[in-house]
């Protein structure tokens, strides 16, 4: 009885309040809408200001790379990312009057590489190498239809093959197929309207695609030059990075460190791939591209030193969850769950 009366009272109060606040609600709604609109405008304004800042920098006869790096750290607008990446990777010269000539020369050079290797058909290629690249390209971003089109796959195969035969110290190593795609994606984007993943490839001429390919080749080359010993025999670069990650975690999160030790989880068991594929297996391509804005903004050590700190942050993010898990689950969580958590 008591309860019923109480609820009736509450109901009464509620309905009374409801009638009174209808007008209030409407006013509130308008207020909220206004606030959201203002926030949108503010966001657009700041984007526009950022864009203008980039534009001003890019229009200078000699680009101040230091400024460009500073600006790029927080993310590069999609419309100009292709140009900015080429500048930050040191592929495009900072002085405007040398840019076009350099591009033409580099692209021609790459075309010659392709002609040398692929000019007499695929049968003349190093079959073991080509086979490895071929099967890996077919399972690269298999979830994105763009990467399942034969034209794109063949382009990626050429880039990887030409790179591999020019770098015998490491040769092609599985995972490098992932590393070429952010470049390829961003550069192709600049030739298509709208979302590159949904682009009509018929509008990309063979000449355009060859340019995307050449630019991707040279930027991949620059990237790998900086982390070459990640891919030479026994992969000493990766081993070193893993040791440094271990030391770092011990310093910043000793409890997580001792938990992993106690569970017998070795850093190499989960962090090897993080280093080998620069976290591309754990993050979406979209997120990777955004991360690479900052990596490149960090300068020459972005893909090695800075990446190490990113990995540490990545690991520490799950400290609380990981501390509750024992060996098997711990490893499995890092192997499989991490992409879902972050996406």
């Amino acid at each position: 009885m008591n309860i019923m009366r109480k609820s009736a009272e509450t109901g009464g109060t509620l309905s009374r309040k409801g009638t009174v606040s209808k007008a209030d609600l409407a006013a509130e709604k308008t207020k909220n809408e206004e606030a959201a609109m203002m926030a949108d405008i503010a966001k657009l304004n700041s984007m526009s200001i950022r864009f203008t800042k980039f534009k001003t920098l890019l229009d200078m006869p000699v680009i101040d790379l230091e400024q460009l790096r500073k600006l790029s750290w927080a993310g590069i607008p999609e419309e100009i990312r292709s140009t900015v990446w080429k500048l930050l990777m040191g592929y495009l010269p900072s002085s405007a009057d040398r840019r076009e000539a350099t591009l033409q020369r580099k692209r021609k050079e790459y075309e010659e590489y392709v002609a040398q290797s692929f000019g007499r058909g695929k049968a003349t290629l190093d079959q073991a190498l080509y086979h490895q690249i071929h099967i890996d390209v077919h399972r690269t971003h298999a979830n994105i239809p763009l990467y399942q089109t034969p034209r794109i796959q063949e382009a990626l195969e050429r880039v990887l093959y030409c790179w591999a035969i020019r770098h015998p110290a490491s040769g092609y190593v599985q995972g490098i197929n992932d590393l070429v795609t952010p470049f390829f994606h961003v550069f192709l984007q600049s030739y298509t309207k709208g979302d590159v993943e949904k682009a009509d490839l018929d509008q990309v001429s063979p000449e355009m695609l060859m340019e995307v390919e050449a630019d991707s080749f040279w930027c991949l080359t620059k990237l790998l030059d900086g982390i070459q010993d990640n891919y030479t025999h026994a992969q000493p670069g990766i081993q070193r990075q893993i040791n440094r990650l271990k030391e770092l975690i011990n310093r910043i999160d000793a409890r997580l460190y001792s938990h992993l030790q106690a569970q017998g989880v070795e850093f190499i068991q989960f962090a090897f791939r993080w280093m080998n594929c620069l976290l591309m297996r754990e993050l979406s391509l979209r997120n990777t591209i955004r991360m690479w804005d900052s990596y490149q903004a960090e300068g020459t050590d972005g893909f090695s030193d800075f990446h190490l700190y990113v990995c540490a942050a990545f690991l520490v993010k799950w400290t609380e969850q990981l501390k509750k898990l024992e060996f098997q689950v711990c490893l499995k969580a890092m192997d499989h769950a991490s992409p879902h958590v972050l996406k």
Partner: protein, 214 residues
């Protein structure tokens, strides 16, 4: 500890073989009953577990799936240590992957424990019309080299369960025989055995069920 963690024996098994023969999908089929056409190449070493029953004992298989590419050997061979079993996989439709089996056996001889149980696995048996390696040839090779042999298809699930069941049973027989021997010699130490658990006795008072499921 959850139910998952209760087991009588913990066996470490490695999956090795050339790139693209389907190692990861064999593991996916066995541990998650999944086949992924879009699976990416394995980088370094990946890991999964599943428990099965052998002679009323719970055997927990800790399976390390390795990258097939040559460059990763230095990394992956470190994982051979302590492994009691190896599934050496080739692709029945790719002659080269079968020819490389000898190189993989050498890898095991160089890096794994000498008494590791090895099973040769001809995967992709669903590709009937593309077969390049005759079953008899692989079978004979296995006999000559003291390996068990089976053909599987991770895609249509043929023999995958059986392959793991077979190798784990074989390991179990060896380990439990050894355990018996050492029990006779000196009580206590059980080599290779995981942590033992007490299994509750069956309730003898429970009414007997009539046969059949209904």
């Amino acid at each position: 500890m959850s139910k998952d963690d209760e087991y009588d024996y913990l066996f470490k098994v490695v999956l090795i073989g050339d790139s693209g023969v389907g190692k990861s999908n064999l593991l996916g089929r066995f541990t998650r009953n999944e086949f992924n056409l879009e699976s990416k190449s394995t980088i370094g070493v990946e890991f999964a577990t599943r428990s099965i029953n052998v002679d009323g004992k719970v055997i927990k298989a800790q399976i390390w799936d390795t990258a097939g590419q040559e460059r990763y050997r230095a990394i992956t061979s470190a994982y051979y240590r302590g492994a009691v079993g190896a599934l050496l996989v080739y692709d029945i439709a790719k002659q080269q992957t079968y020819e490389n089996v000898n190189r993989w056996l050498k890898e095991l001889r160089d890096h794994a424990d000498t008494n590791i149980v090895i099973m040769l696995v001809g995967n992709k048996s669903d590709l009937k019309y593309a077969r390049a390696v005759p079953t008899d040839e692989a079978k004979q090779f296995s006999t000559e080299n003291g390996l068990s042999f089976i053909e599987t298809s991770a895609l249509d699930a043929t023999n995958v369960e059986l392959a793991f069941q077979k190798i784990l049973t074989e390991i179990y027989r060896i380990v439990s025989n050894k355990a018996l021997e050492s029990e006779n010699n000196e009580r206590g130490a059980v080599p290779g055995a995981g942590q033992s658990i007490t299994v509750a006795p069956t309730d003898t008072n429970a009414p007997k069920k009539a046969g059949g499921c209904c």
